[in-house]
Structures are given as structure tokens and as C-alpha cells.
Amino acid sequence: MTHPASEPNPPATRTPPSVAATVAVDGDVDPCEPILATTGVSKTFPGVKALQRVDFRLFPGEVHTLMGQNGAGKSTLINVLTGVIAPDTGTIRLAGEVVAFASPQEAEAAGVRTLYQEVNLCPNLSVAENIFAGRQPRRFGAIDWPDIKRRAQAALARLDISLDVTRSLDAYPIAVQQMVAIARALSVDARVLILDEPTSSLDDSEVAQLFKILRHLKQSGIAILFVTHFIEQTYAISDRITVMRNGEREGEYLARNLSADQLVAKMVGHERMSERLREAAHEASAPGGTERGERAASAFIELRGVGKRGTLQPIDLNVERGQILGLAGLLGSGRTETARLLFGADRADSGTMLVDGKPVRLRSPHDAVRHGIAYCAEDRKKEGIVADLSIRENILLALQARRGWWRKISRQRARELADLWIERLGIKASDAEQPIGLLSGGNQQKALLARWLATDPKLLILDEPTRGIDVAAKFDIMDRLLALCANGLSILFISSEISEVLRVSHRVAVLRDRRKIAEVEGKASNEDNIYRLIAGSGE
């Protein structure tokens, strides 16, 4: 392990270059040689220095978390480690030997297995086929189906899951699909397991289950590299934390020696910022309590018994002007289904909907948009971004759709608007003309938010808007939303993180099993209360 002699801004805890490799950054003795390490890795994309002389090391038998804001270089580093992209300079060592993976397949063959943020499986194949795709056990030259089935069940059993492995993958919810992806990654001897935001689509109990598995794997000597935005989860599982900032390694720390506040400050890079975040994080109940509560509430949209057979039991729901209504519930509880009915993405087959007191029929998103309703969908990749189009085009798409095809936004106006929103939301991009697919997840999310805010909506439906977004951006976005609410925007806020829902919402509707089971005032509610409702013991 060598450190380059001249590092910019070395953090205080950094090992001096002269110290032998066996001494860790915090003075603790390293357990052994790193299984996977990079030295001086740099990567430049057009206009962006994605990685700058990054040293990174991963030890066997520990969970190492990579933290950093959007665009800090986490994904690039992982792509370098797994052979997706080749670094411009620097070396990668696997178990001490210099390696240069030309493809993810080569990395996999060497025992470096990766689980990407989005589930990369074939939804049309069976669970068993997904686990063994590309390396099916063969017998007499033919695929040995009974063996596959048996081994797939065994692989899932390691994760304490039992599924019908012959059913197609899309028969199961995303969370289960994620578990299948883990089973696939582990079904072959892995030395290094890389998890890129595996928990972003999991609920709490599933996260706990995943962590149990990770601890078990750790004990068997596998090195685990974990990327997440959830600070709580970082501390629940990590032994070691590497913080990235602006493409550079900010520092490597033992988790027990780094407080959460310090961590956030190191990610964000400004002490001032961290103050603000700490305040926001400690803000317990709904924002501005009384002041907002006093404003005469008038409903922007009212649902009366709106439902859809097989999707959502008829529910009553009001979203008041200038207020945030939170929807709390587990995955599949009807949160997204409610949002889709409100937006006309699915058609309700019962009940009536009132916008500004007048009954409306929303037969398509087009109708909803005309009534000033906007919807940031949960699945950013599939339902949000138009990957090959530029950031500018993505931002302006909804506004242009609302104006109609014959009233084109002029080239100059389009550029001004896009630049304005890129600046307002702090979207990190070298050029508004680059395809949005090249942005990091959080920046894509901001661009989608910009897309809708540009249309000046009256109701903004946000389905998991902060998933995959770093803490700083999260608070930033929520701050902006609160400011917009003060100007009369209504928001329907959906999130798996109950604490987040409570922090921003004036009222919270709780859903369970595709029906609304309660509605609580933001102030009167606490997390435990809502957990009880969701669990079904609070009625």
C-alpha cells in the first residue's frame, strides 16, 4: 500500500506517507492485507474529473461503506473496481496482485461480485433461471433443471427466503427481486461483494434481513463494499467508512471513530452546511407547526371513495392548498397506486375526484397536467428520465407538453430556463446538452423535480423523491419544497422513511393493505404511533 507523496488537502486522520501499510488510518492495526485496493486511480470524463488519484482499500471480513454526495465519484470508483470502465491512471490490486479487469465478467470471474442499484435481472425469466443465468449446471450437455431448482432454493435459503423458484421474477415485488439478485451474486464463490445502494428499495424489516446476511457473510471472510445514502444504516453495518468528495478520497475512517455529524460535515465539505443539516435533522415535528396549521385550509383536490378494483380500496383523501400531505405505508400498501390514480396514470373505477371543488375525470396524465397536477414517479429510470435526451430537453419536456406541440419554446428561452433550473436546484452537470442518462442518480432526480417545477404546478406528487439522494441534497430539496408550499403549492409526499414523512408533512395518511387506515395530524403523530398503525396494532 503506497500513498502518493503529494495529496491535496490531506485530512487530519490520514496516514502519513511514510507509515507502513499495516497501520490503519486511525492508528489501529489492520487485520491483514487488503483484498482489493486502488492506488492513485484517476478517471476523467468529458468536462468532469470523476476520480482524482483515489486510494482505496477493502479488507476481507469487514463491511466498508463508501459515502459521498451525488457526483462525488462513488459510482465511478465502483465501475473502475468492477471493470465497467478502465481508469486513466493508477493501479488496482486484488489480493496483492495488479489486475486490470477488461469487463465486469472478468471481475466476476475473479470473485468480485457486484449488485447494482437497479435490479439488473430478467423479469420474464424464473427466479431459478435468474440466479443461474449464464452458468447453468449441465448434465449430459443439457441444462439440469432439477439441479438448478434445488440449488436456487438452497441459495435463497442462505438468505432465509423461501420462494417458488419456478415462478417468473416479475411475479415478486422489487424487494424480493433484490434478494434474488443477492442470491445470484452469492451463488458463486465471491471474495468481494459490492453492493451499490442495495437498500434503497427495501423496507426496514427487509433491510434488517439484508444486514443479517451481510454480517454472516462478513464472518465467512468476504469483503463487503457497501454504498448507501442512509446514515443510520451506515452505522448499523459498517466497520470502516471511506468518504468521497468531488472525485477525491476525503479520507478513510473506522466507523466507531467517526460521529454522524462529522461524517455529514466531511461529505458536504462545509462546516456551516453541517450546522444547518443538524438543525434540520433534529427538528422533530412538522415544520412551523402552528403558523401553518392556522392558515385556513381549503382543499385543492378531494378524493371521495376513489379506488380501482384489485389496486386500491376506495379512499377519501384531501390535499389542502399550500400543505404537505404525507402518505405512509409499506411497499405495496397502496401508496404508489393512490398517486397514479390522482395523476390519471391509472383510471379509477369508483368514486369522484374534485379539483378546486369541481368534479373532474382524469382519464390520462394529460388531463391531470392540465389541472396543474405533477407527478415524480418512483421508478426514476423507467418512468422518469428520457435517458438519451439532454438534460435541457428533459427539464423542459413537461412544460412543452403542457404548452402543446405547436407552441415551441424557443431555443434561447429553453436554454435560459434549463440553466435557471440547473442553477436553482444545484444540478451538477458539465453541460445542459449532455444526455441525462450520464448524470448521477441524485442529479437525475433533481432534474425531474425541475421538470415539474418548471410547469408551475398546483399539486406536486412526489413518490420516493429522495431515494438515492445524498443527505445534503435531500434537505436542500425539502427546504425548497417547503418554500414553495408557503406560496400555495400542495404536495403529496410519499416515502418509506417515516421520519422523513413526519418531518415535512402537515398531515399523514397511513395506508395498509391497499386501504387508508388512518389520518393523523403532523404534530400529533410520532414515529412509534405510525409504526403501530402500519403494523396493525394501533387501531
Binding site: F343, A345, S364, P365, H366, A368, V369, R370, Y375, A377, K382, E383, G384, I385, V386, A387, D388, L389, E393, L396, L397, A398, Q400, A401, R402, R403, G404, W405, W406, R407, K408, I409, R451
Partner: protein, 347 residues
């Protein structure tokens, strides 16, 4: 700028460079065989010469490929256009045949009828693709097969000759020394480009091609737009049908526009429009159509025996496709770049 840098600049910046190179190579080949290839003569107030001949014969293909460009940009495909060409020609010829000496108004009716059946055919495709939700290739396959039948029913299985001078002028006449069909194709392409790029239609069509689900969720009526795009493809196919029937002075339900859909798809792809949707270029499509027609011309001019023509054509198409494939180019470029760099270093 260094040569290696210039070559390394991405094709995205200059998407039309490869179709241009291909066309230039074909022209160079012709010039080598026939030094007078590019020369034009004025005869009886009409321009004559190989370039005019190529443009004239490419006109129907340009029209069909223009409609096809938009269809392909929505990640669809329309393989019924050849059949629609036949239907449109048959419809016009049937109406013209009702009078021994067709009047002006009858000719106008015939033209209008041809265009209307074309649009209706396209709308049928659009209905199946966008509202019924069929795969575009299957949906348009139906009309590809049935359309020939409809055309034969209209012509009662016969080849109907067309003699009306006004109608023949459309595909065979000259205006300002240039064939009418060239004028029609040029105006149609320019008008389409102006309509699509001058409004937000271009953005919407590309968005639909890349991510139809997300596009619907921004409040676009994407189904209606896709429907309209197929209708438009029917319209351009009908215009091509008028030109072809006028040019050959007859309507042949069996053979008019046969395999034209494949040439059109080829022209669109040669022009750099992605079959995966999201990227299209009318200029590229026109270049693609000209490449195909020049290639046909070349096989005759350099004396390829008729029985070998199709094989030669296929070989050239393969070569062109390889040239235009970024992966193949990257390979060739990495070899070329090393050589160039070595030379630059040597200097």
C-alpha cells in the same frame, strides 16, 4: 488541429459525415468509370444527366423514407408502405379509368382519393399500434399482406394503364427544367422538416422513441402522436404511389412499390436514424435514399451483369453498414490512429 484529434471526434457531433462519405465514394467510383458522370445537359428546356436521373428515380423512395423516419424515431416500423404505394396508385387509376378522356376535376379527384386512401391506411396501422397495442412490425405486416390484395381488388387483377396527360405530368413532367417528382419530394421533405423541427413535435417524437412510459407520464398524449405518425407515413407512401404510377403510366397492384419498404428502412438507417428510437435526421434519410439509388445506377453503369446486381448491392450495403457502425469504426480507428500518431511523433 491534429489529424488524429479530428478523426477521434465523435460521430454524434457530425452524424451526417458517414452517409456523405459513402455517397462521395459512390460518385467517385462512377466518375472513374465515366468521367462525364456529373455533367448536366440542357435539352428542350429539360435538364438531363446522371445526377438528375438519380434524383428523379430516388424521389418516391425519399418520400416513403421521410414518413418512415418519423415512424422509426418512435421506435416503430412500417413495413406496409410498399402495399400502400400500390393501393394509392390503384385508387387513382380506377378513378381515372371511369372516363375515356379524364377532365381536370377528375384528375384532381384521383389525386385526392389516392392521398386519402394512403392516410386511411396509415391510420389503420396507427390504430393497431397505438390504441390496440400491437407490435409495429406485426401490425403493419397485416396491411403489407392485405394491401396488395386490396390493390388487386381495386384493379380487378389487371394492370390499369393511365393516359391522362395531367396525371402523367406529376411523375414525368418538368418544371423549370427539373423533373416534377424531384420538386415534389424536395418540398415534401422540407415541409416535413419545418413542421417537425419548427414545432415541439421533434422533441416529443424523440422522447416517445426513447421512453414511451415516461413520456406519457409528463402529460403528453403519446398515443395520439404515434397514431398521427403512422397516418403521416401512409400519406407519404400515397404520394410515392402517385409518382410511381404516373411515371410508369399504369397501376399494377402486384408490383408497384414492391419491397420499397425495405429500401426505405435501409435509407433511414443509412442516414443515421437509430432503430432504437430517439434520434432521427431527415437530411440523413435523403442521403440514404440517394446512396441506394446511386448504387442501383452504379451497378448498371459499371456493367454488373443483371443476375449479379442484387448480390453486388447487398455486398455494398454490408460494407456501408460496417463503415457506419461505431464499433467497427473504433476498431479501424484505433489501428489508424496508432499509425498517424507514429507519423506525428516521427515528425
Amino acid at each position: 488541429m491534429k489529424l488524429s484529434n479530428w478523426l477521434a471526434r465523435d460521430g454524434v457531433e457530425r452524424p451526417l459525415i458517414w452517409p456523405c462519405v459513402t455517397l462521395a465514394l459512390l460518385c467517385a467510383l462512377n466518375l472513374w468509370v465515366n468521367p462525364h458522370f456529373l455533367s448536366l445537359r440542357m435539352l428542350d428546356g429539360h435538364l438531363f444527366g446522371a445526377p438528375i436521373d438519380v434524383l428523379n428515380r430516388a424521389a418516391p423512395l425519399v418520400l416513403v423514407a421521410t414518413g418512415m423516419t418519423l415512424v422509426i424515431a418512435t421506435r416503430g416500423i412500417d413495413i406496409s408502405v410498399g402495399a400502400v404505394v400500390a393501393i394509392a396508385g390503384a385508387a387513382a387509376a380506377t378513378i381515372l379509368a371511369t372516363q375515356p378522356v379524364p377532365t381536370g376535376s377528375l384528375i384532381a379527384q384521383a389525386l385526392l382519393a389516392a392521398l386519402i386512401v394512403g392516410v386511411l391506411s396509415g391510420m389503420w396501422n396507427g390504430l393497431l399500434v397505438s390504441f390496440v397495442g400491437m407490435q409495429p412490425i406485426i401490425a403493419t405486416l397485416i396491411l403489407m399482406v392485405a394491401g396488395r390484395g386490396i390493390a388487386q381488388l381495386l384493379t380487378a387483377g389487371q394492370i390499369i394503364p393511365i393516359g391522362a396527360p395531367g396525371y402523367l405530368f406529376v411523375g414525368g413532367g418538368y418544371w423549370l427544367g427539373v423533373p416534377c417528382s424531384v420538386w415534389i419530394a424536395t418540398i415534401a421533405v422540407l415541409a416535413t422538416a419545418a413542421l417537425v423541427e419548427g414545432t415541439a413535435l421533434g422533441l416529443f417524437i424523440r422522447a416517445i422513441g426513447v421512453n414511451p412510459v415516461a413520456t406519457r407520464l409528463v402529460g403528453l398524449r403519446s398515443k395520439a402522436l404515434v397514431f398521427a405518425v403512422y397516418g403521416f407515413s401512409g400519406l407519404t407512401a400515397a404520394m410515392a404511389g402517385i409518382l410511381i404510377s404516373s411515371n410508369v403510366r399504369s397501376a399494377d397492384g402486384n408490383n408497384a412499390g414492391l419491397l420499397l419498404e425495405l429500401d426505405a428502412i435501409l435509407a433511414v438507417t443509412l442516414g443515421g436514424t437509430s432503430l432504437l428510437g430517439g434520434r432521427f435526421s431527415f437530411a440523413g434519410t435523403v442521403l440514404g435514399a440517394l446512396i441506394i439509388q446511386t448504387l442501383t445506377y452504379t451497378t448498371y453503369s459499371i456493367g454488373v451483369p443483371p443476375e449479379a446486381t442484387l448480390v453486388v448491392k447487398a455486398a455494398v450495403v454490408l460494407a456501408v453498414s460496417v463503415i457506419q457502425s461505431p464499433a467497427a469504426r473504433a476498431l479501424a480507428m484505433s489501428i489508424g490512429m496508432q499509425m498517424i500518431k507514429q507519423r506525428e511523433v516521427a515528425r
